[in-house]
Symmetry: C2
Subunit: 233 residues, 2 copies
DNA sequence: ATCAAATAAATTGCATGCAATCGTCTATTG
DNA sequence: CAATAGACGATTGCATGCAATTTATTTGAT
């Protein structure tokens, strides 16, 4: 039960968290050797994790040239947010029709956690802001919708890491709270309006900004070697 | 340029086609050894391909228990079609707003190919029917939307293989033609209506039906060993 | 005869080794 | 001095080998 996750799963989860918390910035090269060494496993497991991250869109693998944290372009950013609006509207529609019994409570408790992480200036706050939207998707009960939203939220985080201002509050927690209120009232129109505004606010933080290669991956990753599931997914 | 696809790419493409053309039925076990042997490569490459197919939702990998062609449940089938309606509406919306210059021509020529394959009773017709919808997504120009639609169309094909009647006409080609007409007129309402009807017609072919394990994979797969790209994606 | 436990067979998970490919640096030539 | 060709270094792609886990089979007891 404790060792239910294989080695490559652990590496996948760790890398994912590191990327989503912006410890690994877009463009950072991820050689199989380095990753294997830092996690104390072979390249095979590292490669496995990188492949999965690639299909999530979090890393880009060029044949014979290695993997790197994906660097979404502004064009891709627009695509992501356009589709994200579409999917999040679907989520809201469904939740206004049928919200699980303790769904509102779960949302509120999540926002509480966001507030705690924000006050503590923890890098977790970046990830938690995205996971709020994943939690919304989970309340619909559709595995597929959860998958798609997860993917697109991950890509959004990457876009913010690439173009957004350094850290900042990411998603406005206030808007999360307003959204919960509208959902409680089953007010789909208001909820969609808040969501659109929310996403636009996120999207508008696009400024051209070049980041260099993070030099020492192993040092960064040493903090992400997994010992237990911290609710990465 | 000709050998631009790695071994695992070739296996991935071959297996994908075999599944999408229903040569490999849901539930069929896919041992790494057998696949490696039939394609004349090692298990490593086969494993690689299986991992990618798993993230596409086409195969299910249970830890230490091997891979098998995914067997979607009726519940998952509903999820798939619900989300598919959402995404295909988005596609139509965008295409009605802006259709590429030779988009209509591309659609018509695709339908022509569908008709040819259908008359020839080729198994390609099954795959082509799905790829019509992928082509629609491609005309939007959004890579992400293409990815999502591809995934969901693949899963739909799998659902039809699991629950639908043996082969049959799959998607009504007539409806594809009607849809093209509506798109040409930029009549979003009609297009959406046709699409909804079209998808419902597909969805309603759900009957409980048990399939057994296809016994000899290698024989089936021998026809899918890749020599050239036949437009699998 | 039925069920439980132990053993055997099959398959995956992972590590290591080698060859192929790509990028870079240097040297040679126009 | 610029440009191109060749060689070097680094990294991936793939194959093979071994240990671990699971499943099937056999053995034993009640």
């Amino acid at each position: 039960m404790s060792t239910n996750l294989s080695r490559s799963d652990a590496i996948y989860a760790s890398l994912r968290r590191a990327i989503l918390e912006q410890a690994l910035k877009p463009g950072t090269k991820l050689p199989e050797d380095s990753i294997g060494d830092t996690f104390g496993v072979s390249r095979t497991s590292a490669r496995n994790a990188l492949l999965r991250l690639a299909s999530d869109g979090l890393v880009e693998i060029k044949p014979n040239r290695g993997a790197a944290v994906a660097m979404p372009t502004l064009e891709e950013a627009e695509e992501v947010f356009a589709l994200r609006r579409c999917l999040e509207r679907e989520v809201i529609d469904r939740l206004c029709k049928r919200m699980p019994r303790d769904g509102i409570d779960a949302l509120i408790s999540h926002v509480r956690e966001e507030e705690r992480a924000l006050q503590a200036s923890s890098p977790r706050s970046i990830r938690l802001a995205g996971e709020f939207h994943i939690l919304l998707a989970e309340l619909t009960g559709s595995k597929l919708l959860i998958d798609f939203i997860s993917q697109i939220v991950s890509r959004s985080s990457l876009i913010l890491a690439r173009f957004g201002r350094p850290h900042s509050a990411e998603c406005g927690i206030d808007e999360h709270i307003q959204l919960i209120e509208a959902l409680k009232d089953q007010d789909a129109a208001t909820a969609v309006r808040i969501m659109d505004h929310h996403l636009h606010a996120v999207e508008d933080r696009a400024k051209t900004d070049d980041k260099d290669d993070g030099p020492d991956i192993s040092e960064i990753l040493s903090r992400y070697i997994v010992t237990e599931d911290h609710g990465s997914r």
